[in-house]
């Protein structure tokens, strides 16, 4: 998969929220095969122990900063610039949340922030809802990918509106990364089968009983879905189709 000219072998991006501790995260990161892991920007905590950057890089992943927790374009833009300064990357997973109950994106603020950050030289990967029109507008203002949700962050409800996701995939000229809602491996496989280029998972892995096991499960689900999408599935048929020849049946 190629995003903004960079090639990735893995089609799974790891969200680091929700892990019990850095050790569990590191193990899951390795099992996931992911090449990118999100981080959020927060105030320095003198009491904090262990550096998430070292753990992520130690596991062979690169850091992808996000703007989690921002409710306005202005805050998101400032946060992205701080992340660039702190982490030396101009890639940002852009989040501008509309309310803290659903954590759904605010369409207008998101579009506004995306436009500003693109103009400022960022490689912008926006977390968006499943509206095909908004996805198109985000692409139009220069986003390097679009990251529609399957269902709300952490809900694990899977892909609520596969019709909209199909439309987004059908008309996108940038990679489509399903973000939020994946609860288990079959959700991830389905996303790839619909034509999504990749999946981002946080809670599905970090909050599973066995995060490393689920990381591996979702990694395989992503590979399975991608292979299936390329292998050309059979059409759905209303009636059965015998898989055994009628001809040559015995008569006893």
């Amino acid at each position: 998969m190629e995003i903004a000219g960079r090639t990735f072998r893995s089609r799974l991006v790891l969200g680091t929220g929700g892990f019990r501790n850095l050790g569990v995260m590191a193990e899951a990161a390795r099992e996931s095969g992911a090449e990118l892991a999100t981080v959020a920007m927060r105030r320095v905590d003198p009491t904090a122990r262990g550096s998430i950057l070292e753990v992520i890089e130690g596991a062979g992943l690169e850091v992808l900063p996000n703007t989690a927790g921002c409710y306005t374009a202005r805050d998101a833009v400032t946060t992205a610039r701080l992340a660039r300064e702190a982490l030396g990357t101009d890639w940002v997973k852009l989040e501008v949340i509309g309310d803290d109950h659903t954590l759904l994106p605010d369409p207008a603020e998101l579009l506004d922030a995306a436009e500003t950050l693109v103009a400022d030289g960022f490689t912008v990967l926006p977390y968006t809802n499943d509206d095909p029109i908004l996805a198109r507008r985000l692409e139009d203002v220069g986003c390097a990918a679009v990251m529609p949700l399957g269902s709300p962050i952490g809900s694990g409800m899977g892909l609520l509106n596969t019709y909209n996701l199909r439309l987004i995939v059908e008309r996108a000229n940038v990679p489509v990364i399903l973000d939020a809602g994946v609860g288990t491996a079959s959700d991830a496989a389905l996303a790839l089968e619909l034509g999504c280029d990749a999946v981002l998972c946080a809670s599905a892995i970090s909050r599973a009983e066995d995060p490393a096991g689920m990381a591996r499960a979702i990694r395989l689900g992503v590979e399975a879905g991608r292979l299936a999408q390329r292998a050309g599935r059979i059409p759905k048929r209303l009636y059965a189709q015998a898989s055994t020849p009628e001809e040559g049946r015995a008569e006893f």
Binding site: G15, T16, G17, G18, F19, L22, M25, T38, V39, A40, M41, R42, R43, V44, D45, P46, A48, S51, I52, L53, V63, P65, N66, A68, G69, T78, T79, R81, L82, A83, E85, A86, L87, K93, E95, Y127, I153, D179, A180, L200, A202
Partner: protein, 70 residues
């Protein structure tokens, strides 16, 4: 003394303290890798920390990367 709002809390710093001092006061790791600073909402490049004096009443945010996201 200069009184500023450092990561949301009132903080007294010595007259003429620089942003670098504020960063240390915020408890950022020495080498300070992965840390960034905004003064009154504007990002201040690391290169200018040592040479920028903090003014009375400024709002200083010292951030670093944490687990998070999505």
């Amino acid at each position: 003394m200069t009184v500023v709002t450092l990561n949301g809390a009132e903080k007294e710093l010595p007259e003429g303290a620089t942003v670098e001092a504020a960063v240390r006061a915020a408890g950022a790791p020495e080498h300070g890798r992965g840390v960034a600073v905004a003064v009154d909402g504007e990002v201040l490049p690391r290169g200018e920390w040592a040479t920028t004096e903090i003014q009375e009443g400024q709002k200083v945010e010292v951030l670093h990367a944490v687990q998070g996201g999505q």
